[in-house]
């Protein structure tokens, strides 16, 4: 084995065209829980989809593994998220970046790709190696091609949905083995900056944990004449009030993460901590920096701590935030949804999706997307949409029926929700009987149906700004804003757990035993009776008898038996 040490004189340094920003937003929720959202953004002014001389070969802040994936599979946009737990919209409000339980992957491919399905299959395998997740279970039986949901979040006029693929794995478990490679994608790793707070023992001991990677092309500047690639890594976690807070609404960074911050990431151009102080909590150490941002249709005030400045860390060279708040202002979410399975028995059932519009006087449209696996056979003729006990006809329906073992059901509907109402969507289904090799090793656990996705334009209370500036905090600039009066939001419902009729897997063994026994006993005995002759076999007599017989033979007297 050879080990070489190289000296290469550095060539003339080209100006750095990539930058890295990190930010942490802490928002106390009215239920006493605390919501922390990390966002790490790497912006790179380059073009992955170019061929030839200009092909990207030198990576600095952007992780090489993802860059190679993008150029090999001609990916225009990639969104992948791993979530443990379910986001409770009623108690916690809306998250900054929503995600469904389990793993979700949706990808827009470049319009030059000829075999989208082949690229999709290879991409899922490569990503499963990068993130240590079982993404290789994504195949044509759980991939759908939405026709109106999931428009690109980045630049592009690609509206041909043939290049979009969406898949979700509701059963996917998220644990430290997914966090480890995710942390390794950051420029500073978990050694410096905000990522030192990410200790798995605290992050997974929470009510909700979600880590995601979003890659998309965005405008490089305000004029938007050229593209830059943006990689956003987000980690959302909601810490539980009762298990960690001991009943008091008092939190500190150390209590949440068992670490304090000591320095910003040296490679970051900006490193900030935002704390939501709209509900007037007590905050220490105090900071004069305040910022207002319009996020999710509401204007909120934030205290800003800039970690690139040395005075934030004080004398002890460590930054620990203390937060104490009282009062529970409930910010009632304008849109939330629930989903459940009704019915009894193992043959039929009914899926109910309930969508609530809590706005007092405005109606708005929502796009509901349902992807149901093929083994729940939907009866679309029983589909009903009712609002306020009256029929509500959707203005757009797209339905693609399932093909057994090939394709799942895809149902997309554009429904107008009347103000202050509850809309219920019901559809009946029948459960299929799978082949015995298709059952998982633990089939009595049940089978999962992925979350429904509800995309909506919700009227906003405050006018939103449509200008795109680089100075906006990251958490408020994820979704591009097109109009001022409403904001785009995505709500995920619960996944369903459905029991399928499960056979008794010991039956083949039982049948073999019974058949063999019957054949052996019945036929075997009959065969023996017919083909064997029986002779009486005298056992050799004991010694005394033999001696007696010997003497009797000498005497000439009849022998003993």
């Amino acid at each position: 084995m050879h080990c070489k040490s190289l000296w290469i004189k550095a060539s003339a340094k080209s100006p750095a065209k990539d930058q890295f920003q990190e930010e942490l937003v802490i928002r106390p929720l009215h239920s006493g829980d605390i919501y922390a959202s990390f966002q790490f953004r790497t912006l790179w002014d380059t073009d992955f989809l170019q061929e030839g001389q200009k092909k990207v070969s030198h990576y600095r802040l952007f992780p090489k593994s993802l860059g190679q994936v993008l150029s090999k599979f001609s990916v225009q946009e990639l969104h992948i998220s791993f979530t443990q737990g379910f986001w409770r919209t009623m108690q916690w409000g809306q998250p900054f970046i929503p995600s469904p339980p389990g793993a979700e992957l949706w990808v827009w491919f470049h319009h030059t790709v000829s075999d989208v399905d082949g690229n999709w299959k290879e991409l899922t395998n490569v990503l499963s190696g990068i993130f240590c997740a079982s993404l290789n279970f994504i195949d044509m039986t759980n991939t759908v091609q939405p026709s109106a949901s999931f428009k690109p979040l980045g630049l592009g006029n690609a509206t041909d949905h043939r290049f979009l693929r969406y898949a979700t794995l509701p059963r996917e478990i998220v644990c430290t083995e997914n966090l480890t490679p995710w942390k390794k994608l950051l420029p500073c790793g978990s050694k410096a900056g905000l990522a030192v707070l990410m200790k798995s023992e605290k992050l997974f001991h929470s009510s909700f944990h979600s880590q995601a990677v979003h890659i998309r092309p965005i405008c490089q500047d305000e004029q938007c004449t050229s593209k830059a690639w943006e990689l956003r890594q987000t980690l959302n976690v909601v810490f539980d009030h009762y298990t960690s807070g001991q009943g008091k609404k008092e939190w500190s960074l150390f209590k949440m993460f068992s670490r304090t911050l000591t320095e910003a990431c040296p490679l970051a151009s900006s490193s900030k901590v935002y704390v939501d102080i709209t509900d007037n909590p007590e905050l220490s150490p105090a900071t004069p920096l305040l910022s207002q941002a319009v996020v999710l249709g509401d204007r909120r005030t934030y205290s800003v701590y800039d970690l690139t400045r040395a005075e934030t860390f004080g004398q002890l060279r460590s930054f620990n935030l203390l937060l104490r708040w009282k009062g529970d202002n409930m910010l009632r979410p304008l849109l939330h949804a629930e989903r459940y399975v009704a019915g009894f028995g193992l043959q039929t059932g009914e899926i109910h999706t309930v969508i609530y519009n809590n706005h007092p006087y405005r109606a708005f449209p929502v796009l509901l997307m349902d992807s149901v696996p093929w083994y729940l056979q939907l009866y679309i003729h029983t589909l009903t949409v009712t609002s306020k006990s009256r029929d509500n006809k959707p203005s757009y329906i797209h339905y693609q029926p399932a093909k057994d073992r090939h394709r799942p059901h895809l149902l997309e509907m554009l429904i107008q929700l009347p103000p202050h109402s509850m809309t219920e969507v019901t559809v009946q289904f029948e459960r299929a009987l799978l082949k015995w090799t298709e059952y998982t090793p633990d089939p009595n656990h049940g089978f999962y149906v992925g979350s429904s996705v509800i995309s909506a334009l919700v009227p906003s209370m405050v006018a939103m700004s449509t200008n795109f500036t680089q100075d906006q905090p990251l958490f408020s600039s994820f979704v591009p804003v097109k109009e001022e009066s409403s904001y785009f939001v995505r709500v995920y419902t619960e996944p369903l757990l459905v029991n399928l009729p499960t056979p008794d897997f010991s039956m083949p063994y039982n049948v073999i035993c019974l058949t063999c026994t019957v054949v052996a006993v019945g036929y075997g005995s009959f065969y023996n009776l017919l083909t064997r002759t029986f002779q009486v076999d005298e056992p050799s007599p004991p010694l005394a008898k033999r001696l007696a017989n010997f003497i009797r033979r000498i005497r000439g007297v009849p022998l003993l038996a």
């Binding site: 080990c3 004189k9 190696g129 997740a133 630049l155 480890t180 757009y396 591009p480």
Partner: protein, 376 residues
């Protein structure tokens, strides 16, 4: 300027031991660690595998050379009172899961088929590198299996099993394809010795936690977690390995003495007849660690000229014809008037073709070709 000449210099600390340096014959180390049991009450099998993983990583084998297969997730299981931890000792002293773990095969992916494919290298082309065993003929491989087993078989996930003959054949395939230099096989299950009875390939050494007819027992339960934390054999194996460090000279005979019957209740067994070297001369770190060997060279090596830096894009010179825009996330009007997608035209199905052929056949049979000119 570019540098064409390259000098490579090395200093070898113990030059006198050069002869010993190349005695073992392997250049890289791999480990395949498999836990085959599912469900929460089999916590101890996952803890077994993770403790061997931890030792192997500590002694130098990198994650890229370890294939770790865990059939179920215990650390983030909802029944675990301390999430993201897997403990090996009842006072929660040692968290074997740690903060830096990479599991390659998890959950339903741990099947007999995947295990044998990993060993023999017959994986589908799209499998990522971290899931492959890319060993060569100079690799020393450590294989550790744990779970529930019986006389001649090992159970995978409560639904399938691998027999000792299949395992022996897999190792023979590996030998014929030159996928290992030496292989150490450790198994911690009930009646584990039956699994190595049928081996017939050279350079294999095997250890088991119990003989045929004996059960391997678990070590101690933890009242907070509610399940047994580890098996006896692997517990004492972990204790032994904690004493080993990369420069240690402990050899295989010490490993055979781990967990005698007084501690383990079952009798651990081992098999060395297929192994060519004497076990006393085989270091523990030959299999559990990754001690790198280096070769010195004093020759110069010519490098090709370095890669040209990418040509700078002409920045402000060119003006785009149109500025790029973001797409509307929910264009309601567009969606409502979206035309239905044109379905691709497919040639008529077999049934329709057959039906039409039948009709045409009957038609021509009844009327005959010569009458056609009257019709047309």
């Amino acid at each position: 300027t570019d540098y064409n000449d390259l000098y490579c210099l090395f200093t070898l600390v113990q030059f006198t031991k050069a002869g010993q340096f190349f005695s073992s014959g392997h250049t890289n180390n791999w480990a395949v660690l498999v836990c085959t049991s599912r469900f929460w009450f089999n916590y101890r099998h996952v803890a077994n595998t993770l403790s061997v993983y931890r030792s192997v990583k500590r002694l130098g084998i990198p994650d890229s050379h370890i294939v770790l297969m865990l059939a179920d997730d215990m650390a983030c299981n909802y029944r675990n009172p301390k999430p993201a931890t897997v403990f090996s000792h009842k006072n929660m002293e040692l968290n074997v899961y740690g903060d830096d773990v990479e599991v390659d095969y998890r959950g339903y992916e741990v099947t007999v088929e995947n295990f044998l494919r990993v060993l023999t290298g017959r994986l589908p082309p799209s499998t990522p590198r971290s899931k492959r065993l890319l060993s060569d003929d100079r690799s020393n491989i450590l294989i550790y299996l744990t779970g529930h087993g019986g006389n001649g078989f090992l159970k995978f996930q409560d639904s399938e099993e691998i027999s000792n003959m299949e395992l022996a054949d897999a190792f023979e395939q590996m030998w014929q394809k030159r996928r290992y230099n030496e292989l150490l096989f450790i198994i911690d299950t009930c009646q584990g010795a039956s699994m190595y009875e049928r081996f017939y390939s050279p350079n294999l050494m095997a250890l088991a936690s119990s003989q045929v007819g004996e059960d391997s027992l678990s070590h101690q339960p933890d009242l907070a977690i509610g399940v047994h934390l580890m098996d006896k054999y692997t517990f004492y194996l972990l204790e032994f390995l904690e004493e080993v460090h990369p420069a240690s000279q402990a050899n295989m005979n010490d490993l055979f003495k781990v967990c005698p019957q007084s501690q383990c209740v079952s009798t651990p067994g081992h098999r060395t007849d297929l192994f060519q070297r004497d076990p006393g001369s085989v270091l523990i770190t030959d299999f559990f660690g990754s001690v790198r060997k280096v070769e010195i060279t004093k020759d110069t090596i010519n490098l090709t000229s370095p890669v040209e830096p990418p040509i700078q894009r002409s920045g402000s010179g060119d003006i785009q014809i149109e500025s790029l825009t973001y797409v509307d996330q929910l264009p309601v009007a567009e969606i409502i008037h979206q035309k239905p997608k044109q379905k691709d035209w497919h040639p008529p199905d077999g049934f329709i073709l057959g039906l039409w052929t039948l009709i045409l056949l009957v038609f021509f049979q009844t009327y005959g070709i010569k009458h056609l000119k009257h019709i047309f």
